[in-house]
Amino acid sequence: METVATASLPCALFPRRGKGSPAAGGLASTRRFPYNESKRKCGAGKIAAKFELKPPPYSLDALEPHISQETMSYHWGKHHRGYVEGLNNQIVGTELESMDLEDIISRTYNKGNILPPFNNAAQIWNHDFFWESMNPKGGGKPSGSLLELIERDFGTFEKFTQRFITAASTQFGSGWVWLAYKANRLDVENAVNPCPSEEDKKLVVVKSPNAVNPLIWDYSPLLTIDVWEHAYCLDFQSRRNDYISTFMEKLVSWEVVSNRLEMAKARAAEREREEERRKQEEEHGSTPGDNEATEMYLDSESDESEAE
């Protein structure tokens, strides 16, 4: 059994984002966004490497007749590829070179004072997320806890759909529209939620301009539609509303959205546990980290243990 100690102790405070969901790895950070696995060619250690253009989970003609192969060949083959190549050029020789994509996005968003690599980085993330939000046999209705939450927060599925479509039609200019799970904390030290409830964690529909995405607001995106004109003008010309309806009726992969919701809920729960631990630590003056370190030394059978 792999013990934490073998994962290289110096990194225990800054856990590597492992493959898969946060539930899989004990110390996986709840601040990291687990939806995209690392797309870097990584060697054995943490070597700076270029980002790769990840293909959609279906062939370029698979979304026909709704989205044409021609659109996909430009949208993925030119635009998305351009963002990847652009970012790789921009980060060479900088500290960003060894960072994960989400970290680059956060760093270059720079609290609104956007730095040049942001557009490329965020657009890479957005497009990966968009391709995965669709399915050639998509559409229909969600089920299970996703549907329950939609009905809790929007009334009915139809009302949610209407809200989403309206938002997509009224995102003036280029941008994206999202269904997201909002469970962020107040980011101020002594701000306390006086009446915490389950409804603090809820689904929201949000719009964002150009390359901006809800990661920068600390939301968990669940679904997105690209409303840059290049996403639809070859197939729908000016008829953005037809494109949006087609997307909702024929392309949305509710299975993927459901999986993302589960991961978002797990992430929120883990955060709450962290918060609890931190509160207890403050109250009792002990450092759980020390305890864990002690446990590691006692339990570990590796050579790094001092328990002999």
Binding site: Y74, G82, P209, N210, A211, E229, C233, S238
Partner: protein, 233 residues
């Protein structure tokens, strides 16, 4: 409560101006609405720089939608204002800015394009030509600068050659989405180039720099000079 006439929605004045208004017999002014201006040339007249397909869609669909939605927002604004509904008035501002701006900008755009046989692409002469050489060094330098700014614009917007009417100076600037140039200062638009994807994608796809390079062949410096000389006689 404002009285409305039957005429308020129809264009009574010249179609070219795209502006209509009317006064009721009692003297109460009705809502001013707008209409799609005609193009001063055929859809295909700007080929090969801009395809007829794009011109038709751009004018009949995109610009028309801005006009329609602008008028709708103005009607809703009038109603909300008359009722004293402040939240509704404020909520309408983004639709007014976006659609009104779209109508303003595209009206300018059609005027500042011309077929080659009507002077499209001919370099500016007279006072505008001198002002360009003085401020930018040469026409080529100005074009380079505008192309660079236009290509670098993230998302949707416009790149402009404007005249600062207070300083009497030429400036190159960009505006996002459909913001008109006036939102950037006391600026009069001389040349505006639409860099929204709908302006070029069907023909140039993702290669916006090619569109920018080619559009200068149909830019009407004659029109720009006319506007300039009016401000700087």
């Amino acid at each position: 409560m404002a009285l409305r006439t039957v005429f308020s929605r129809r264009t009574l004045a010249s179609l070219r101006s795209g502006l209509s208004s009317s006064v009721t017999p009692t003297g109460t002014r009705s809502l001013v609405t707008f209409s799609l201006p005609d193009l001063p040339y055929d859809y295909g007249a700007l080929e090969p720089a801009i395809s007829g397909e794009i011109m038709q869609l751009h004018h009949q669909k995109h610009h028309q939608t801005y006009v329609t939605n602008y008028n709708k927002a103005l009607e809703q604004l009038e109603e909300a204002s008359n009722k004293g509904d402040a939240p509704a008035v404020v909520k309408l501002q983004s639709a007014i800015k976006f659609n009104g701006g779209g109508h303003i900008n595209h009206s300018i755009f059609w005027q500042n394009l011309a077929p080659v046989h009507e002077g499209g692409g001919e370099p500016p002469k007279g006072s505008l030509g001198w002002a360009i050489d003085e401020h930018f060094g040469s026409l080529e330098a100005l074009v380079s600068k505008m192309n660079a700014e236009g290509a670098a614009l993230q998302g949707s917007g416009w790149v402009w050659l404007g005249l600062d009417k207070e300083l009497k100076k030429l400036v190159v600037d960009t505006t996002p989405n459909q913001d008109p140039l006036v939102t950037k200062g006391p600026l009069i638009p001389l040349i505006g180039i639409d860099v929204w994807e709908h302006a070029y994608y069907l023909q140039y796809k993702n290669v916006r720099p090619d569109y920018l390079k080619n559009i200068w062949k149909v830019i009407s410096w004659k029109n720009a000079s006319k506007v300039y000389e009016k401000e700087c006689p």
